[in-house]
Subunit: 115 residues, 2 copies
Amino acid sequence: MEADKSLVSGSMALLVLKLLEDGDKYGYQMTSELKARSEDVFHLKAGTLYPLLHTLEEKGLVTAYEREAAAGKPRRYYHLTKEGQAVLREKEAAWHTYADAVGRVLRGGACSAGT
Amino acid sequence: MEADKSLVSGSMALLVLKLLEDGDKYGYQMTSELKARSEDVFHLKAGTLYPLLHTLEEKGLVTAYEREAAAGKPRRYYHLTKEGQAVLREKEAAWHTYADAVGRVLRGGACSAGT
DNA sequence: AGTGATATATCGAATGCCTATATAAAAGGA
DNA sequence: TCCTTTTATATAGGCATTCGATATATCACT
């Protein structure tokens, strides 16, 4: 199943940062892992990912380095910086706040009389 | 606490539709209820809400009617149509799919320590 | 008379993501 | 050999969503 594209945005940075917490990764790897870990919900496109990675690099949240692959083009690996880790924690907290609030609204139909 | 604005978008339609499941409501009331029910996480602005309501009306998801208030300007009430209810259920399902997927990624994905 | 809350409405700007496109190398089939 | 798919990175253009600023109008309180 695929997520409604209009439902959420701005969370890709959070997810990419989270992937890098696991260890350094290159772009193409992130798209595959995100697809696998989300069970086919997230289809992070190249046209979304690479500009996002460049932005994260400009902000100092990740650093990049190239490494030759056994075959094919050299891969550009990304590494999560300390700043990136801090931002990741902020974004995780913000996500939980937001998701909990949506949950309250979606479940809270009956309690409208209260307070 | 306030949700990171860049974190999510496109969910306002879902939340507004959900509010109307409870019963007919007018715009200003929706902003207050959403703020209360989300415990101050959602600050739905007038500049967001009214264009959104007009769009929902064009799509046939809600209908509108005016009713005089005891005092002040006449209020424009919105009613959830059957189509609106159907779309609401779709959007609720999409939200759960999305939120669950984010949860999976944030908890360490598929290949970490078991469940 | 002035301020703030109630109540609806529109416009311009910013942001975020996607589609389409381009480049390049290796693997596999016809 | 040629062609398509997969791997791999990258940019430009465009659409959708939301907010801030602004406008109008009535009522309550001072």
